[in-house]
Symmetry: C2
Subunit: 145 residues, 2 copies
DNA sequence: ATACCACTTGCAACTGACTTGCAAGTACTT
DNA sequence: AAGTACTTGCAAGTCAGTTGCAAGTGGTAT
């Protein structure tokens, strides 16, 4: 996913059905610049001196999530993390429980998994979403464990 | 997993390295009786008139989790859910986003997934845990959607 | 059976993520 | 340029989960 210019960001936001406001542009630009999911605090800090209220950031992320622009993940740190969502390239995260280091991986085989779940259950009609994360130890932490 | 008698429960708790106290017996007995993961509130309520402080329940579940007796899952409802963990029979949950109905499914292929992640990443040495849940619509909610 | 003590519990106060209500501000339409 | 529906920011609130500590108790040693 290449980094779009400011003009394009506005287009993305409008296409999603929102007004291209400064806070939304700042949040979206920040998300384009990160390698791994960021927390609300990291987003607010990362936006720089253009202060955007945390309530606004929460609302923006909620809205972006609702239209599929953003994915929310749970690293079991007691808060949510967010990154841009690329539906065409499903990926997940492995998190070090020692130092919180994160890396991506692919290959969860979502479609097959969804089929499996639907055929095993009797009460479900469709799968709309999934969450998957692996927890482990990084090369550094595995030594000190 | 069949339901053990009170005596056996005490043995399970002691084998895990804890004293077989009344609150721990009550929590463990309750967890043996549920079909799907329960929240802290549900556990406290479910325990019945033997009131156990919620702090105690939190601490018990944390301890049981640490020794692998209990699994914690995230249904994205803003709180944690707990159930007994059976390491030999890995299973996951599909949750209806309309009505919170839950069912189990198996077949996440954990070992293969862990291998995949380790070979794709450069900084990780081992996978120790995983979380996976599917979200979807149940037969009832899919009609009203 | 009793005494002991490390482990547990319960209460109260606290933390921190996230939400809500509402008045003031602003992006887009006309 | 004006109008209006959509957004934002502030303050206050909610609620899951945590912390400190004094009182209670299970398991063990006498
Ligand atoms: Mn990622
Ligand atoms: Mn289950
Ligand atoms: Zn690490
Ligand atoms: Zn449903």
């Amino acid at each position: 996913m290449k980094k779009p210019a400011g003009v394009e960001l506005a287009g993305i936001i409008r296409k999603a059905g929102f007004r291209a406001t400064k806070p939304r542009l700042l949040v979206l630009a920040f998300l384009h610049g990160i390698e791994y999911p960021a927390s609300i605090k990291e987003i607010i800090t990362g936006i720089g001196r253009e202060k955007v209220d945390q309530v606004t950031v929460y609302r923006i992320l909620e809205a972006f999530k609702a239209v599929g622009l953003v994915a929310q993940v749970d690293f079991q740190h007691g808060r949510a993390y967010y990154e841009l969502k690329d539906a065409a390239h499903d990926h997940h995260h492995i998190v070090c429980t020692g130092c919180d280091r994160v890396e991506d991986f692919t290959g969860c085989d979502y479609d097959k998994l969804a089929d499996k779940a639907l055929s095993q259950t009797s009460g479900f009609a469709k799968v709309t979403n999934h969450s998957l994360e692996l927890f482990g130890l990084c090369n550094t932490c595995v030594k000190t464990a």
